[in-house]
C-alpha cells in the first residue's frame, strides 16, 4: 500500500476518493443527458443518436403540449419570481444594513428563517394559508409565485448585503461631501456599485425558481400549473420516453447558463473572489 502514501506528492488516497466522488456525482447525470439524445424510446438502452426528443414531430419538448406547457410555466414563474423578489430583496438588504436602533436583529432572523426551513414545512404552511385564509387567491400560478418569492427573497438579501458590506459607507459620504443630495448619493454612487450584486442575485433567484419543487407542487391547482420539476416527479416512475430526459436537459442548460452569466457579471465588476462566493452560496 506504500504507493498510496506518497509523502512528497499529493496523497494518492485522497486523490482517488476525490476523483471517485466526482465521477459518482457527475456520470449519472451525464448519462441521463446522453439518453436524451437516444434514437429509440428506451432510457436505458442506447439506440443511436437523435434530437427527436427535443425537436421531433411527436412527443418532443417542442411539440408535445404537456412538455412545452410545463417548460413555459416554469419560465413564467421564474420571471415573476425574479421581478418581485429582486426589488423586494434589494430594499430589504439596504434597509437591514442601515437599520438604526433596535429591531434589526429580529428582522435579520426573520429574513434568515426561510433558508433553514425544510421545504415541506413551508409547503404545508403556504398550502393551508391559501386554502383557509387567502381563499380568494387560492392555489395556482399566483400562489406558486408568491411561495417562490418568499424563500428566494432571503437569497437576494444575503447576496446584496454581502456586497453592501464590502462597499462600506464611505462612498456615499464622499458623494454627500461633494454636494450630492441623498437621491444622487444613491443613484450616482450606490446603485452603480451595487449593480453587479443586483444582477447576480436576480440570476440566482431565477435559477432557484426554475429548480424548485416542493412549494411549487403544493401550491399548484391543476395540470396547467405544472412545472418541469413536477413533471419529472410524476413521470419518473412510469414508463416515460427520453423526452423526459430531454426536458430535464433543457432545464439544466437554462440554469447553468443563468449562473454562468451571473458569475461572469460579478467577476467583471466585483472581482473573482466575490464571484466564487456567490456560486458556492456562501451565506
Amino acid at each position: 500500500m506504500s504507493w498510496l502514501r506518497n509523502p512528497w506528492g499529493r496523497p494518492r488516497f485522497l486523490m482517488l476518493i476525490t476523483g471517485g466522488y466526482i465521477l459518482w456525482s457527475v456520470v449519472p447525470v451525464l448519462l441521463a443527458i446522453a439518453f436524451a439524445f437516444n434514437n429509440g424510446r428506451s432510457r436505458t438502452t442506447w439506440q443511436g443518436f437523435s434530437t427527436r426528443w427535443f425537436t421531433g414531430e411527436t412527443g418532443s419538448v417542442l411539440h408535445d403540449s404537456a412538455l412545452r406547457d410545463a417548460l413555459g410555466h416554469t419560465l413564467l414563474l421564474a420571471v415573476i419570481c425574479v421581478a418581485v423578489a429582486t426589488p423586494l430583496g434589494v430594499a430589504l438588504a439596504l434597509g437591514l444594513q442601515r437599520w438604526r436602533g433596535r429591531g434589526s436583529g429580529t428582522v435579520n432572523t426573520l429574513m434568515l428563517l426561510p433558508l433553514v426551513t425544510p421545504e415541506i414545512v413551508m409547503g404545508v404552511a403556504l398550502l393551508l394559508l391559501f386554502l383557509r385564509l387567502f381563499g380568494g387567491i387560492g392555489l395556482g400560478t399566483d400562489a406558486q409565485a408568491i411561495g417562490q418569492v418568499t424563500f428566494t427573497l432571503s437569497y437576494v438579501v444575503v447576496i446584496v448585503r454581502g456586497r453592501l458590506v464590502s462597499i462600506g459607507p464611505e462612498y456615499e459620504e464622499a458623494a454627500a461631501d461633494l454636494g450630492a443630495p441623498r437621491r444622487d448619493q444613491f443613484s450616482r454612487v450606490m446603485l452603480p456599485l451595487l449593480a453587479p450584486a443586483i444582477v447576480a442575485s436576480a440570476a440566482v433567484a431565477f435559477a432557484i425558481s426554475i429548480d424548485d419543487f416542493v412549494v411549487t407542487q403544493y401550491l399548484s391547482s391543476d395540470a396547467s400549473t405544472t412545472t418541469v420539476s413536477m413533471l419529472l416527479y410524476s413521470s419518473a416512475r412510469g414508463a416515460p420516453t427520453p423526452a423526459l430526459n430531454a426536458i430535464a436537459t433543457v432545464n439544466l442548460v437554462i440554469t447553468l447558463a443563468t449562473l454562468t452569466f451571473a458569475y461572469l457579471v460579478y467577476r467583471r465588476f466585483a472581482g473573482r473572489e466575490e464571484a466564487t462566493s456567490i456560486a458556492t452560496l456562501e451565506v
Binding site: E170, E173, A174, A176, D177, L178, G179, A180, P181
Partner: protein
C-alpha cells in the same frame, strides 16, 4: 473673513461614550490647522462634525459666523479628503474630479476647464482617463485632493490622509500639501496622530486628549512651552521628572528633585508642592563629571543611540531616573566618547527647565521615564 471656523462648546456623545467633551476652538482663515492627538481622543469625530457626517449632541460650529451644525453635509461649503481617499471605483479620474461640479451652475466647457486646472494643481493631468484602482496610494491621494479643491471650498478637511503611505512618500507629500495650502490660500484642517508631521506642516496645532483640547498654539509654542504634562509628553521627548517646588528664587522657581536642587525659569513658576519638571533633550548639556555646581546633576551613561545626525544619550542620574540628551554628531570627539558606563555631569540650564502642574497626585518617580520613542513616530 473667508474660511474661519469656530467651535463653541462642541459636544458629541455616542450612547454612554463621550467622544468630544465641550471644546472651544478658533481656526483662523487661511491657516494650516492641525488636530493632533492619540487614537480615541476625538479629533476625527470633531472633523466629521465639521464636515457634517456626525450631528453634534450640543454646541455650535460657526463657519464664517453662521452656525452650520445642523446643516447636512452636501449643503456646507467644506470638503473632505478621506483617509482611504474614497475615489469612486466606477468612474475614471476626470469624472471623479468632476463629480461635485454638477451641483455648481457651470457649462460643460467651464467644467472641463476647472477639472483640468485642478488636475494640474496636483500634477495628475496625465492620468485623467485612468481608473482609481490603477493608481498608487500617493496618486489616489492627489486625485482626492483635486476632487475636493475643484469645488473651491472655504475650508478643506483632511482626515489622516498620509496614514497609508510609506515613510519616504509621506515626507514628500507633507511638503507638497503644505506648499499647496500656501498656494491655494484656503483653510486646511488636518487630523493626525503623528506629532512630527504636525510640527512640520502646521501653522497652528490643537492637541487633544479624551475629548478635550489640552492646548492650541503654534508648533514652536507647543513644543517649547507645553502647558500640561500630556502635551509635553506627546510631542517629543520630555524627560519628565517628579519634583517638589519649594519657592521662588528671583524670577525662577526652585525645585527639588530627589536631593538635588534645580532652578526653573519656565512654566508654572508660581506653583508649590508636587510638580513635574521637563527639559527637552537638545537643551541638556553633557559635561565632564568633574563639573559640579548649580543646575547640574551627576549621572552615568547607560547607552548611546546613534541616530545619524545626532546621538541620543541615555543617562541614569543619581535619583534613579533616566534622562535622554541629544548630542549632535558634529565630528567632535566628545559625542563619540560617550560610552556606556562613562560618568558625566548633566547641565540643565534654568531657562530650559519648565515647571508643569500636575492635576493628579505626583506619580512616584519610577526607575525609568515613560519611553519616549515619540520622536520617531508620535
Amino acid at each position: 473673513m473667508e474660511g474661519e471656523i469656530r467651535l463653541e462648546e462642541l459636544c458629541k456623545r455616542f450612547d454612554d461614550v463621550t467622544a468630544v467633551d465641550g471644546i472651544d476652538l478658533e481656526m483662523p482663515p487661511g491657516e494650516f490647522f492641525t488636530l493632533l492627538g492619540p487614537s480615541g481622543c476625538g479629533k476625527t469625530t470633531t472633523l466629521r462634525m465639521i464636515a457634517g457626517f456626525e450631528r453634534p449632541t450640543s454646541g455650535r460650529i460657526l463657519l464664517d459666523g453662521t452656525d452650520v451644525a445642523r446643516v447636512p453635509p452636501h449643503q456646507r461649503n467644506v470638503n473632505t479628503v478621506f483617509q482611504s481617499y474614497a475615489l469612486f471605483p466606477h468612474l475614471d479620474v476626470a469624472k471623479n474630479v468632476a463629480f461635485g461640479l454638477k451641483y455648481h451652475k457651470l457649462s460643460k466647457e467651464e467644467r472641463a476647464e476647472r477639472v483640468g486646472e485642478a488636475l494640474e494643481l496636483v500634477s495628475m493631468a496625465d492620468f485623467a482617463r485612468r481608473k482609481a484602482d490603477q493608481l498608487s496610494g500617493g496618486q489616489q491621494q492627489r486625485v482626492a485632493l483635486a476632487r475636493a479643491l475643484v469645488l473651491r471650498p472655504r475650508v478643506l478637511l483632511l482626515d489622516e490622509p498620509l496614514g497609508a503611505l510609506d515613510a519616504q512618500l509621506r515626507k514628500n507629500l507633507q511638503v507638497e500639501l503644505k506648499t499647496l495650502q500656501t498656494e491655494v490660500g484656503i483653510t486646511f484642517i488636518f487630523v493626525t496622530h503623528d506629532q512630527s508631521e504636525a510640527l512640520t506642516m502646521s501653522d497652528r496645532i490643537a492637541v487633544m486628549d479624551r475629548g478635550r483640547v489640552e492646548q492650541a498654539a503654534s508648533p514652536k509654542e507647543i513644543y517649547e512651552e507645553p502647558e500640561t504634562v500630556f502635551v509635553a509628553d506627546f510631542l517629543g521627548v520630555s524627560n519628565l521628572l517628579s519634583a517638589t517646588a519649594v519657592g521662588p528664587d528671583g524670577g525662577a522657581s526652585t525645585v527639588r528633585v530627589g536631593d538635588r536642587t534645580l532652578r526653573a525659569l519656565q512654566g508654572a513658576t508660581g506653583a508649590r508642592g508636587d510638580v513635574k519638571v521637563m527639559i527637552r533633550p537638545e537643551r541638556i548639556e553633557i559635561e565632564p563629571h568633574s563639573n559640579t555646581g548649580e543646575d547640574r546633576m551627576p549621572g552615568m551613561v547607560e547607552r548611546s543611540v546613534f541616530l545619524g545626525g545626532a546621538y541620543e544619550v541615555h543617562v541614569r542620574v543619581l535619583g534613579g531616573e533616566l534622562l535622554k540628551a541629544m548630542v549632535p554628531n558634529d565630528g567632535g570627539v566628545a559625542a563619540a566618547a560617550l560610552e556606556p558606563g562613562a560618568a558625566v555631569s548633566l547641565h540643565l540650564p534654568p531657562d530650559a527647565v519648565r515647571v508643569l502642574r500636575t492635576s493628579e497626585p505626583a506619580v512616584e518617580a519610577e526607575g525609568e521615564q515613560p519611553d519616549a520613542t515619540k520622536v520617531a513616530d508620535g
